[in-house]
Amino acid sequence: MSGDRKTEWCDQEELAVGWAMHALEPDEEARLRAHLPECATCRRTVRNTEAVTAAIGQSVDQYDPPARLRANLMEAIEHTPQEVPSTVVAKVPDRQEVAEPISLEARRGRKANRTRVLFAAAAVILVAVVAGVVGQRLTSLSDQVTAQQARTDQLEHTFRLATDPATKKAVLRTPDGTAMAVLLSGDDDAAVVPEGMPANDMAAQTYVVWGTSGPNPVALATFDVTPGSNDIVLKWDRSAYAHDGLAISLEAGRTPPPSPSAVLAAGQVAKA
């Protein structure tokens, strides 16, 4: 486990327990997601917590599932193709599985259409993310696994955001119409999915998201693009969510200026 800490404890372990229980808020999830790849102690805490919670989960009142469930499943797999595993996908941990589109709304007509669009959007993200991950050349298997862990957790966050009916989606385009990024705006979190955005110099530059719905642009969030970035979680809130006009600029320094120096891409939200 190259890069792992050798300590037997970590001050993030409480967060790791909450993470394993799926009980954290998005900002905390993001924090732990960034931390896990470098901390063997917290990864172990996650695994240990899952072992305990799974035991609790298997000990609740037992109900026999309807017989049709097994029959439906055996029928469904007859026309459900299996994905061909690749060397990278084979190591994808739990959370990506969770991130897969869930067709729970199929029997709920009131949400079906909207949800279908969101699933489609999420599927696009999934493809982009997997493609990005496969493209990475990681130096060791352990690095690969830990990077996958962080990556799939981030994907899970983006997927959750993408499937929230309240989430607004904006395709941000350059003046010549080229899509530069997709911004998913929820009422308490958001994510940018860059499409060919160049990496910024993280020591001297930052990308800034601007809200353009008011008389003057308002800086809503900052983010960095690194080589291979797929989707980026933003610190977001309800006032940011209120903006239906959004834009991105690249600014010198690490904090947003009062107004954008040059807007690289802009767009309007479409309620998905």
């Binding site: 240990n48 072992a51 989960g57």
Partner: protein
């Protein structure tokens, strides 16, 4: 290092295929292996989903999607990270909690959490959750939970079975978030210590999870 129940899977000792062996066969398109895994874990998976969602139809959807996702991409289960039962139950829990949160998105954001407590059938007292535990199979777990201080049982019940985030648990119980986190951490550590001892004593060096064994005998 305490005993690690995650290393165990059903089968192996009695000549039947282990869970990882079944997953390997499943990955090669073996329908029988898929059916066997469902027979081992379909019931506990459905029971957990139903406990969290309450709605039996929703629980059924969740289990169906979880198993279909396994069929589509069995490599998502990584045997080096733990047992199949733990993995599957974690997946089902995660999906069930997401479904409950999604179903309640509007209410969760518009009504006081205290109202939602009763709406979602989350018992106000942790003792109610203990009653919900299976009296035979979950005996060790129930005993371990009983040994927890009540405030620790409460945070585990609300977060794990109620699907509430820790911030919501803090609001519901009226204690600071930091206290919720530390209680949860202490509860899990204590449960793990207790259960690891039980599992280890029952299974010798094999470290089998008794609940996994239960799944195999259906």
């Amino acid at each position: 290092m305490p005993a690690d129940p995650r290393s165990a899977d059903v089968g192996g000792r009695d000549g039947r295929p282990t869970d990882p062996e079944l997953v390997t066969r499943l990955a090669q398109g073996d329908r029988t292996a898929f059916g066997e895994l469902y027979d081992r874990y379909g019931r506990p998976a459905y029971s957990l989903a139903r406990r969290i969602c309450v709605d039996p139809d929703l629980a059924e959807d969740i289990v169906q999607e979880a198993f279909l996702a396994l069929w589509r991409n069995p490599s998502r289960f990584d045997a080096s990270r733990g047992g199949f039962g733990t993995w599957l139950m974690t997946v089902v829990h995660h999906r069930a909690v997401d479904a409950v949160r999604k179903e309640n998105t509007q209410r969760r954001r518009n009504v006081p959490l205290t109202d939602e407590l009763s709406e979602r059938n989350v018992p106000p007292a942790p003792g109610s959750d203990l009653e919900a535990l299976n009296s035979v199979v979950g005996a060790e777990v129930r005993e371990a939970l009983k040994k927890l201080p009540e405030d620790q049982r409460q945070v585990i019940a609300l977060a794990y079975l109620g699907g509430y985030t820790q911030i919501e648990v803090a609001k519901l119980t009226g204690v600071p978030l930091g206290t919720v986190k530390s209680r949860t951490f202490a509860a899990i550590r204590r449960l793990r210590g207790t259960l690891a001892g039980v599992w280890s004593a029952e299974s010798g060096s094999d470290l089998a999870t008794p609940n996994n064994t239960k799944g195999a005998h259906r």
